[in-house]
């Protein structure tokens, strides 16, 4: 008890100095980021974030709107490169390699780090072509049969095959919202990435579709590292092992999901999860 109080005092002291409380680092890190700052022109969006993401772990990034969690997520596969005015500093390592190094190709990085977006965004092509697009451009398969297998396997993993197996030639945009999002997940895992980034993947979906996606995330954890940004604290609690709380561009607290939701250290975290703001 005493020990715990000491820890809490120490953390509060950290917090006063703008330091992250909790356990931002882990032993077996897939992604390891240190002192990340992100600027949009002169506006700083992310302040000094240091965070590790472990192998085969689902880590949830939560926080009020505009807190920078999506911006941080998009640094991890260099999607921010497409925004001219965006500048990222600090160290971001994937398997120990700097992803912002000069010799790091963003295209290769994005093949290793897949992304699922907030709004389902299937290509205006057939379901088959949606899934086959990634493998095709990367030349992952050598013949049609292999590609067929890969597409089927990806659709099975995304839990979509049974619903679409009779209409693989139908347009992907004709599916329901939840199906479209699972199609996007299938499309992402067809490239066989190591990490999957998810930017509020269920925010545009109804509860049933959300439940299916959440189940899918738990399933995918066996093979992938998953970083998920979410607005729903219940969702974070259900799917993630660790949770990171962002506030105004700062990483406030990181910890085991259980601990964050039951016994948050920082009072900002507590205020947020108890619904007093955000």
């Amino acid at each position: 008890m005493n020990n715990n109080t000491d820890q809490k005092t120490l953390d509060s002291m950290h917090a006063e100095h703008g330091k992250t409380v909790g356990q931002p680092f882990c032993q077996d890190a897939k992604f390891s980021t240190r002192n990340v700052d992100v600027f949009y022109a002169d506006n700083q969006a992310i302040y000094d974030v240091s965070l590790d993401m472990g192998k085969n772990e689902v880590i949830a990034l939560i926080g009020p709107s505009g807190c920078g969690k999506s911006t941080y997520l998009r640094c991890l596969n260099r999607m921010n490169d497409t925004i001219d005015i965006c500048k990222v500093t600090g160290q971001l390592l994937l398997d120990g390699q700097d992803i912002y190094a000069k010799d790091q190709d963003p295209v290769l990085l994005r093949a290793r780090v897949g992304m699922v977006f907030q709004k389902p965004n299937p290509f205006p092509k057939s379901i088959y072509d949606n899934v086959a697009y990634g493998p095709r451009i990367h030349g992952l398969t050598s013949n049609k049969a292999e590609l067929d297998d890969l597409v089927e396997e990806s659709l099975i993993k995304a839990g979509l095959l049974n619903e679409v197996k009779d209409r693989l030639d139908a347009p992907g945009t004709g599916l329901s919202g939840g199906q479209q999002q699972r199609l996007c997940i299938a499309r992402t895992i067809a490239v066989q990435p190591e990490v999957i980034l998810m930017d509020e993947p269920a925010s545009a979906l109804d509860p049933i579709a959300t439940a299916i996606i959440e189940e899918l995330i738990s399933e995918l954890r066996k093979n992938y590292t998953i970083v998920i940004v979410t607005h729903s604290m219940q969702q974070a609690a259900r799917v993630s092992q660790r949770t990171a709380y962002f506030h105004l561009g700062k990483l406030i607290e990181v910890g085991e999901t259980n601990q964050i939701f039951t016994n948050p250290v920082h009072d900002l975290t507590e205020k947020y999860i108890t619904g007093r703001f955000g």
């Binding site: 596969n77 999607m79 497409t82 001219d84 295209v107 290769l108 990085l109 994005r110 093949a111 897949g114 992304m115 977006f117 709004k119 965004n121 299937p122 290509f123 205006p124 092509k125 697009y133 990634g134 451009i137 990367h138 347009p171 945009t173 004709g174 996007c184 499309r187 992402t188 490239v191």
Partner: protein, 428 residues
């Protein structure tokens, strides 16, 4: 706090006003569309009514004696020998034989001018096509002169005073005799669609101008479309956002506003005088028009590309597609319908353009039908202008007919483009 009742009353009061505004706006829109449609209808009807006579040609049937001795050729004669023969004499003899009473020189002139000056070539082509008719007497349908044509179609009133009538009494008698004998026929005017321009209205055709327009637009399309689309894609997707690009953008917009005659001057100075490309040729016309069309298509293509949702780009980039793959696999196909719309507008503009082509000599009187993009040619709007400017009465109806052909050309072109656009849009 306003109480419930007064609030409801206030809303009700304002509702009437709001609905009235909507009603007024709707009816104004309806009236404008109706008026515009009415004017369009009047225009099209007027042109069509004026053009209809041009599609009918008066013809005169004559018995011609193709006596081998008279002509000085036999069935074994070569093509060159046949070309040397004076077939005009044969036709004149046929006319003289039918009207032996005509003796005076001036009257003879009237008699001979019943048929078109093109009649002799018609006869020659007939003989060249079938030498077996040499040595026989044949019934041949000749194109009538434009005055005869006008009289038969009623454009010249027979009941007018002789002094005010283009066809005098003597000639009128001759025509009426032919009419009584059933030697005057009115047939569909194939000539109009199969020949080039001529000084004689009855011989003038639209084919030269149609092909000229076709070649010119082909050159324009081939030069503009790839360049404009590539420029739009580069500016929208690849170019850095800096002052230089802003400057280029302003210039593209300005280029769209440059008077078209200036492009003609440029074409004359650069392509004809400096590069020595052929004068009056569709190749030069096409290049000049493509300069004019470029900004239109670039601007339309850029806004089409801009309208492609960013989520589509993100989806492709997120999968590890390169920028080039993202643009050409996803952005370009999604923008294609919009790009095609811009292309239709640009090409329609180019089709109707006259001024710059005047400068590069496409206004010349060209009888030959162009065989390639380097042959001298004219285009449809210029043909309209040339005919409208001609004094002969027969060209009046030809002018309207040429306008109809121009409109038909435009509609066909747009229909193809709209079909293509629909086809690409259908891909969900």
């Amino acid at each position: 706090m306003i109480d419930k009742n007064t609030m409801t009353l206030k809303v009700e009061k304002s509702l009437k006003r709001r609905y009235l505004k909507e009603k007024i706006f709707k009816s104004m829109g309806f009236i404008s569309v109706t008026v515009a449609f009415l004017f369009l209808l009047i225009l099209i009807l007027d042109i069509t009514i004026k053009a209809l006579p041009a599609f009918v040609q008066t013809q005169i049937v004559l018995q011609v004696d193709l006596n081998e001795q008279d002509l000085g050729i036999t069935q074994q004669s070569s093509v060159d020998e046949i070309r040397q023969v004076d077939f005009r004499r044969v036709i004149r003899n046929a006319l003289k034989k039918q009207f032996p009473q005509v003796k005076k020189r001036k009257q003879k002139k009237d008699l001979y001018s019943l048929v078109s000056v093109g009649a002799e070539y018609q006869l020659r082509d007939l003989v060249l096509a079938n030498k077996a008719i040499l040595g026989t007497t044949q019934k041949v349908t000749f194109i009538a002169d434009d005055d005869v044509d006008a009289l038969i179609k009623g454009a010249i009133d027979r009941n007018d005073e002789e002094s005010g009538r283009r066809v005098k009494d003597f000639k009128l008698n001759l025509i009426e005799t032919l009419e009584k004998n059933g030697q005057i026929e009115k047939n569909f005017n194939w000539q109009f669609f199969s020949s080039g321009d001529s000084r004689e209205p009855e011989l003038a055709g639209i084919k030269g101008a149609v092909l000229g327009s076709l070649y010119t637009l082909l050159v324009t399309l081939l030069m503009t479309f790839p360049v404009a689309v590539a420029a739009a894609i580069y500016l929208e997707e690849f170019a850095p956002k800096n002052r230089m690009v802003d400057f280029i953008e302003i210039n593209i917009n300005n280029l769209a506003a440059v008077p078209s005659i200036v492009f003609g001057l440029l074409g004359l100075a650069v392509f004809i005088n400096f590069f020595e490309l052929p004068r009056s040729a569709p190749i030069v016309g096409g290049i000049v028009l493509s300069l004019m069309t470029l900004p239109t298509i670039i601007i339309a293509s850029r806004s089409a590309i801009k309208a492609v949702p960013p989520s589509l780009r993100e989806a492709a980039l997120g999968l590890g597609a390169s920028k080039m793959q993202t643009v050409f696999h996803h952005v370009f196909p999604a923008a294609l319908p919009g790009i095609l719309t811009g292309t239709i507008i640009g090409m329609a503009q180019a089709l109707g353009e006259t001024a710059p082509l005047l400068m590069i000599g496409m206004v010349a009187f060209i009888v030959d039908i162009p065989q390639s993009v380097t042959d001298p040619a004219t285009v449809l709007p210029i043909q309209v202008y040339l005919w409208a400017d001609s004094p002969e009465r027969g060209f009046l109806e030809k002018t309207s007919a040429a306008i109809l052909v121009l409109i038909a050309f435009l509609i066909t072109m747009n229909a193809i483009a709209i079909y293509l656009r629909k086809k690409f849009e259908k891909k969900w």
